[in-house]
């Protein structure tokens, strides 16, 4: 089992390598080189020989392949990806400041999307069974379809305007007012931090929630048409028992898989939602750096987002391997097949 997990971990390595090559290619294609940026206007006061020395120091006289390995060993592995053009601090420091905010937002959204989406999908299946509930199910289906198709930031606008007008909700903290970084430590402040994250996280989760609800509905309905369900009902089991004991278990595997795959799209959506709600996370940093043409920052962010996605997919895959013996066997067979 341990060997299996280690093997799966090793599979992520080529992906990380590719990601770094792609990022580096983008670094190379950028206009101007780091020396131009560093020297700036002072360039005309410097002797060409001095600039040449600087270029050698940066390794710019080497071939792209050598430069890539230099960048990998000095930059990526030691966490030294250059300084922000904007405020001169190391980009890694700035990103690590913003990371906790984004993780808080995305984790809450993932939790909401998965939890609510599952309940939503299953209640659609259950409602479909009764003649009156059928209509309610149709309405829930329509709502899910619309939420899945509407742009998330647009819903964000509408929620913001409405929450600002409806005073029934009391003082809803509309925009994040806390500093970037980790949440405060004392309990009351921590509680208010949850309150702050709730609105943006709900808006962020809506699209995923709808997708998961539709997926759960389709997967469960598909499962209900299988013959073992007829057999189980024929044995005289109640429908609730069949649904919870037999059907749910079988339709759960693809749903867990979908939850693991949700992270990239939630991270992507968070860029827009962070902008709407002025949330001090990585997404807003990405947008700000795009406007400021802060190249080192953008590329470090690409690397960071990519690594987050690769590791989360790895984690989801491992959970599935641990959970589902069928998949484990299939994977083992594949490994065996590759050996022979």
């Amino acid at each position: 089992m341990l060997e299996l997990l280690l093997r799966r971990c090793l599979q992520a390595v080529p992906l990380l390598v590719i990601l770094s090559i792609v990022t580096f290619a983008a670094v190379l294609s950028l206009p101007g080189d780091p020396v131009d940026v560093l020297v700036g206007n002072a360039q005309k006061d410097m002797a060409p020989a001095e600039i040449q020395v600087l270029r050698q120091e940066f390794g710019l006289d080497k071939s792209p392949v050598e430069q890539y390995f230099l960048w990998l060993s000095n930059g990526v592995l030691k966490g030294n990806l250059g300084r922000s053009y904007k405020d001169g601090r190391p980009v890694v420091t700035i990103i690590l400041e913003r990371l906790p905010s984004t993780i808080r937002l995305v984790a809450t959204a993932l939790f909401l999307a998965f939890g609510t989406g599952m309940v939503w999908g299953l209640s659609m299946v259950i409602l479909k069974q009764s003649p009156i509930g059928k209509w309610l199910e149709a309405a829930l289906f329509l709502v899910a379809l619309v939420l899945y198709s509407a742009p998330g930031f647009w819903i964000g606008f509408l929620v913001l305007t409405m929450a600002g007008r409806i005073s029934v909700l009391g003082d809803v903290p509309l925009l994040a007012v806390h500093e970037a970084g980790s949440p405060p430590v004392n309990p009351t402040a921590a509680l208010s931090a949850i309150w702050y994250v709730l609105l943006p996280a709900t808006v962020l989760s809506l699209r995923r929630m709808a997708k998961i609800a539709l997926f759960v509905r389709a997967a469960t309905l598909n499962e209900l048409a299988q013959e073992y369900v007829t057999t189980a009902l024929g044995k005289g089991l109640s429908r609730i028992r069949v649904l919870t004991k037999h059907v749910l278990r079988n339709s759960l595997a693809p749903i867990i898989n979908l939850a693991g795959l949700s992270l990239p799209s939630l991270l992507g959506g968070s860029v827009l939602i962070e902008t709407v709600f002025a949330w001090p996370g990585m997404g807003r940093l990405a947008v700000e750096s795009t406007f400021g043409r802060d190249y080192p920052m953008i590329l470090a962010l690409v690397l960071m987002y990519g690594a987050l996605v690769i590791f989360s997919n790895l984690a989801a895959d491992m959970l599935e391997l641990i959970n589902d013996p069928r998949r484990r066997d299939a994977y083992l067979a594949e490994v065996e097949g590759a050996r022979t």
Binding site: P14, L15, I18, L19, V22, A26, S29, L30, P31, Q129, L145, V146, Y148, S149, A150, P151, F153, W154, F157, L158, T161, F215, A218, L221, N222, L224, A225, V229, L233, G234, G236, S238, R239, P254, N257, L258, L261, P264, S265, L267, G268, G269, V271, L272, T275, G283, A286, V287, T290, F291, R293, Y295, I298, L301, V302, Y305, G306, V309, I310, N313
Partner: protein
Amino acid sequence: MSQARFTTSDPRHSSIRMWVGAVLIALVFSSALLAPAIAPSKTLLWPVPVNLDAINLPPLTTGHFLGTDLLGRDILAEALWGARMSLVIGIVAAVAAVTFGGVWGALSAFFGGPIDTLMMRAVDGLLAIPNIVLLLTINTLLTANPFLHSFPEWSLRFLKVTSFSSGYLPLFTVIVVISATTWLEAARISRSKIHSILLEEYIYSARALGIGVIRMLFHHLLPNAAPVLLVEATLLVSDAILMEAGLSFLGLGLGPSTPSWGSMLTTAQSSLIEGNWWAVIVPGVLITTTVVGVNLVGEGILEGQGGKRQAT
């Protein structure tokens, strides 16, 4: 307890859903086609006149059925002209993405071996980057000055770029940026489809006849993968429309000169604080309607083909 039986999905429903989707798409398309008839204009840049005496008028005002935006432009006319831009962006970007991705995937499957691994790993690596982040990055790289200066003179004239206006250049950039992001999924789908086509007997006989790569690709492989790629293109249209809206919202889209639903949302954002909610509602509803329609039709066809879009 009622009879021990479960109600499962009714096949009739999926055909109803597809019809509903088709009707929605037909409505949006006809409104785009009718734009010049309902709101006449000679030019596509600033097609709706700015009128600063009539800003933020509410809906149902005489002459402005859906009200006006913060520049006094009629929202109905904007929406109709915007439908053209949004649909053009969606369709052109989707077709470009599927064409490039389709050929990429086909070549990858055809050559196999280390070339296949290399080509598909590159796709996997890029897919690890979330959509919007990739959009932002490609946008930054593409709009860096040296790229813009490398445009030949005639293309700038074609895109109506002058020293006062960037003309259709943003439209061009947005389409390139979106298709540069969405071709990845098409490449994966094309590769897996062509991989299975390559096992067919007619491919063996074509190979035995010594057919060239190009002919093999365009005469045998891609035409047989076309149904799958067509559905992917349909679904990508909705993705592209949503992406354009997102890009515009971030201020990287078309700008106020060229109306699209995304750029309408951007303008509307600034007037929301003055209580102009209708300027936000109209483009959002139109985007949602189009995306619902496209998704219903795309998934309906997919169901008919007995497939399922990969869960993402």
